[in-house]
Assembly symmetry: C2
Homo-oligomer: 165 residues x 2
């Protein structure tokens, strides 16, 4: 690891970069299947997490590109689903981060920060409406910037997605 003092700017005191040359980030490739349409125009407007987003009481939308709409078949209103997003714009090279809410630097894999080797967002949301033909889902809340790319939708299953007992 390299201390933030030795390398690039714009990391908070205490943040630490991964050591060595940047990897090429091409071990596997993603296709964007749609976009999130949210009330949040910039990262600064974004709620800091989904609880915060729910408190603001503003629904959002997901737009699925035409090619992928068939895969929505059977998605029902009031269902909970995980959205996986691509948090473009997030840095990928911090091993330790110093979030405002914490009293010191924390390992990236103990945080839900967008800054991580693969900046994938995981968001549990409720479906308020589903338009299969138009490829539009309305969701109860979201904590990403307008236009954020979508990479997957998975049904929430309490039997595997909650700790047993």
């Amino acid at each position: 690891m390299t201390t933030s003092e030795q390398s690039a700017p714009a990391v908070r005191p205490g943040a630490v970069r991964f050591d060595g040359p940047e990897p090429s980030y091409d071990d596997a490739g993603l296709v964007f299947i749609g976009r999130v349409r949210s009330p949040w125009a910039s990262r600064d407007d974004c709620p800091k997490n989904l609880s915060d987003a729910r408190e603001r009481g503003q629904p959002a939308r997901v737009e699925i590109d035409a090619r992928w709409r068939g895969a929505l078949t059977g998605l029902g209103v009031d269902r909970w689903v995980f959205l996986l997003t691509w948090l473009d714009g997030a840095e990928r090279d911090l091993a330790l981060q110093a979030p405002r809410h914490a009293d010191g630097p924390r390992g990236t894999f103990t945080l839900r920060s967008p800054v991580r080797p693969n900046p994938i967002g995981l968001h549990l949301v409720r479906l308020l409406s589903v338009d299969l033909d138009a490829g539009i889902l309305t969701i109860d809340a979201i904590d990403v910037r307008d236009g954020t790319p979508l990479i997957d939708i998975k049904p929430y299953l309490a039997s595997i997605d909650a700790p047993p007992e």
Copy 2:
């Protein structure tokens, strides 16, 4: 959508492919940060989901490559985390699938099947031991083949990862 009869082999009756030419799958790139070491040598050996894996009572291991180990700092034993894996080998082009357990074809986004436009696996597991220096995590169970690439580790937070109330 194209019916399975018109196109490639090896899909079950009722499965339907997405229409049109394959996309290039290069909207964004992933880096593999490690590998899952599981008791399951082939896809046929794999438990069908994490509940099934837990019933088999066989722990597994996650090996994190050296570059990324600093990001494990602070990960504690007995913590629940989501692992995100890259389910290499899974097809990416089915809109509808006909799982054995279902009575008919279902939309891919209503299933947790590895077959999806971006074959990312989401697995909630418990940490049994953490060796930061060696980059080795022992986990209670896993439902992927030995050698499956790892792309992220996220802490489970009941406040955002479980449906409210």
